[in-house]
């Protein structure tokens, strides 16, 4: 994870106090947790790596007509898929949990140091309406955001957030912006719109940018760095004074990333295209982490640099300050994709809109699960479809192979099965590899699947094939619902323990997680 380590605006946060804070608070936190998270991440990537290598090897071997070896590689790939399906959700949920803790502990503290008095919400985002009003992104894009910082610099209220605007709904890549968006009330009354874009860019074809024409300004340095569009060339020069142009050039040079700005009737918007998410969790410690934290601090300090360079605190014009407008603008936020699930005590690790459930599902008892309560204990037994599939697959395979070819010839109505049995015999070894891989995959998933869970005051037991696993209450940090699974975060590990298989709905996971937590704590239900 590389941050914008080259961002060093003038007046960047003093390094010595920041370094002392890093050594005192962040380094121990990362040293304690980052190693475990990094190992978890690597473990999660191993099967992905094996899958990719197996796929490439299978393709290569097939091209050189080594079909047996290609099928063997394909079999290895099939096994990897099974491992990914079982362990992937656990690693993703663990990573999401660490992300939440990192932002609440490290990033929030950093914001308090760099922008004192500002609030930081990792799970709130700049409202989509504000992003569209800036005119700096296409309006036909999917939008996501988080890491909202709101505060006042001097006398200027502002908001700053991580914004991602991606593919359009029609699947065509129109605009790919991933960076920070800053907006504040502009200190002068404007009647039109002025757009300052990185050199060579054209305005987005959106309604707010209609009627803008290119404007050539006097500063060669500014013209080399930016392209300016405005509804009124005189007003563009009213906004972009020689001093402002000079400051914008210096700011863009310091930031080292594409910088755009928009000035309309009410507000000023500044977009910094970072190319990646800001303030993301670090899974390592040491000097590399220090460099990234410095980058985060510099990104936050960009807010101060923008207010200073655009002289937003200078209020010598008739507009003055408009607290009502600022209060309205500050209220224009929306929950990030993370916020709804964290508010409900769950961590979502997929934001796939095709999933058959959503974070808004209400708790409901899971289907195909037998729930029993006795003396404060809760026991849930889950139906096992994989066992049935395994048995059917085994039976079918045995049946096809066992019958004599003469019997198939005597029953022409079953010609297709006879053909399959004959084909299996003809290429018995390669077909067996694939079938063996499928069987092993199903076996692995069946073996790993949680068959039952029992919760009692002071402990939880999880049953799979083999010995059940016992978790004492003091080891369990939290029981939560992640998509349609119930998991438990345990001490000394960021890899959660699955307490249920996939239940088919987030509401079922919520219900069961609440029941298990209540039984664990001994609370009456």
């Amino acid at each position: 994870m590389a941050a914008v380590a080259t961002v060093k605006p003038a007046g960047a946060p003093a390094q010595a106090p920041l370094r002392a804070w890093f050594q005192r608070e962040v380094q121990p936190f990362l040293a304690e947790h980052a190693g475990a998270v990094e190992r978890m991440g690597k473990r999660g990537l191993y099967p992905v790596g094996v899958l990719l290598l197996a796929f490439l090897a299978a393709v290569f071997l097939a091209m050189v007509e080594r079909f047996s070896a290609a099928l063997a590689c394909a079999g290895i790939g099939i096994l990897s898929i099974a491992v990914i399906q079982v362990s992937g959700p656990l690693y993703q949920a663990g990573g999401a949990a660490f992300r939440t803790l990192f932002k609440q502990r490290v990033v929030a503290s950093l914001v308090a140091r760099v922008l004192p008095g500002s609030t930081y919400d990792p799970d709130l985002a700049i409202a989509r309406s504000v992003v569209l009003a800036s005119g700096l992104v296409d309006d036909d894009v999917s939008y996501d955001g988080d890491d909202l910082v709101r505060g006042t610099i001097g006398r200027t209220p502002f908001a700053l957030g991580d914004v991602r605007a991606g593919l359009s709904r029609r699947g065509q890549l129109r605009n790919d912006f991933h960076g920070l968006l800053f907006h504040a009330e502009f200190n002068r009354a404007l009647s039109g719109r002025t757009l300052v874009l990185a050199r060579g860019q054209a305005p987005q074809a959106v309604a707010v940018n209609r009627g803008l024409r290119p404007v050539t300004l006097e500063s060669p340095a500014f013209e080399a760095a930016f392209s300016t569009y405005a509804s009124d060339p005189v007003e563009a020069r009213y906004v972009l004074t020689p001093a402002t142009m000079e400051n914008l050039v210096a700011l863009a040079r310091t930031v080292g990333r594409p910088l755009s700005a928009a000035f309309d009737r009410q507000r000023v918007y500044v977009a910094l295209d970072n190319g990646q998410g800001a303030f993301e969790a670090l899974a390592y410690a040491g000097e590399k982490a220090w460099a990234d934290v410095c980058g985060y601090a510099a990104l936050l300090d960009c807010a101060r640099a923008i207010v200073t360079d655009l002289e937003l605190n200078t209020r010598i014009w008739t507009k003055g300050f408009a607290p009502e407008a600022e209060a309205q603008a500050a209220a224009a936020v929306q929950p990030s994709a993370w916020s709804r699930v964290t508010a409900m005590g769950a961590w979502a690790f997929q934001r796939d809109p095709t999933l058959p459930f959503s974070p808004d599902d209400r708790p409901v008892a899971p289907s195909r699960t037998r729930i029993r309560r006795a003396g404060g204990r809760l026991r849930a037994r889950f139906a096992d479809p994989f066992l049935v599939r395994l048995l059917v697959l085994l039976a079918l395979g045995a049946f096809l192979l066992a019958l004599d070819p003469a019997w198939w010839a005597a029953h022409p109505a079953l010609e297709i099965f006879g053909f399959l049995a004959g084909a299996a015999r003809d290429v018995i070894r390669p077909a067996a590899v694939i079938e063996a891989a499928l069987l092993l995959g199903v076996l692995y998933r069946t073996w790993s699947r949680v068959r039952w869970v029992e919760a009692a005051p002071g402990m939880v037991r999880v049953g799979r094939w083999g010995l059940p696993r016992r978790l004492p209450r003091e080891r369990i940090r939290r029981v939560f619902a992640a998509e349609d699974c119930v998991m438990a975060l345990v001490e000394r590990s960021w890899t959660p323990v699955a307490l249920s298989p996939r239940l088919g709905s987030h509401g079922a996971a919520l219900w069961l997680a609440a029941e298990i937590a209540a039984a664990l704590s001994g609370a009456p239900r």
Partner: protein, 187 residues
């Protein structure tokens, strides 16, 4: 064949001349438009002067001559038959007089505290900034016109077609020097 070549060359030349003429017309109109925008902002400032005089005259007993000078400048600028060029020419004198007045007001705390005067002062600052922007826009338009008239091959046809360059608006020599704030405050 030679006749066809000659006719084609003549047609091409005519097309180039027409295109050049049209471009120069656009540039000249753009300059006129920018000058009109500047004139509008100057009028805004002249319109402020009666309000400023009314707000200030009850307080500043020793600046009567300054107020009278401002009023006279305004009358000259808005007199019947006064052209936009005349208003631009008076711009420097008006700006200097207003600056002197703003400095003089520093000696009158009651006036400085007046909400009405505060609003006028802010409006004046805004108008001054817009005048500066309009001047820059006008100079940019004039520069573009001058480039069009003086560059080759348009320079060959600009004169015969009645186009010529214009001077950019420059700051008067008296205003280019450093401002002696002490001298202003000592008046």
């Amino acid at each position: 064949m030679p006749l066809a070549v000659a006719a084609a060359s003549a047609a091409l030349l005519l097309a180039v001349i027409v295109a050049t003429y049209n471009r120069l017309v656009r540039l000249r109109n753009g300059t006129a438009n920018a000058f009109g925008a500047l004139d509008a902002q100057l009028r805004n400032r002249f319109d402020l002067i009666p309000n400023i005089v009314a707000a200030v005259s009850g307080y500043v007993q020793h600046e009567r001559s300054l107020l009278e000078s401002l009023t006279a400048l305004r009358a000259q600028a808005l007199a019947a038959g006064a052209t936009a060029e005349k208003r631009v020419a008076l711009d420097g004198q008006v700006a200097q007089a207003l600056r002197q007045l703003v400095v003089a007001v520093e000696a009158y705390p009651d006036l400085k505290a007046s909400q009405q005067f505060d609003h006028l002062q802010r409006t004046l600052v805004e108008v001054e900034a817009q005048i500066a922007a309009a001047r820059r826009a006008y100079n940019a338009a004039v520069t573009e016109l001058n480039n069009g008239v003086q560059s080759f091959p348009a320079a060959l046809v600009a004169g015969p077609l009645g186009f010529s360059g214009k001077p950019v608006l420059e700051t008067p020599e008296a205003e280019r020097g450093r401002v002696d704030v002490s001298a202003l405050l000592a008046r």
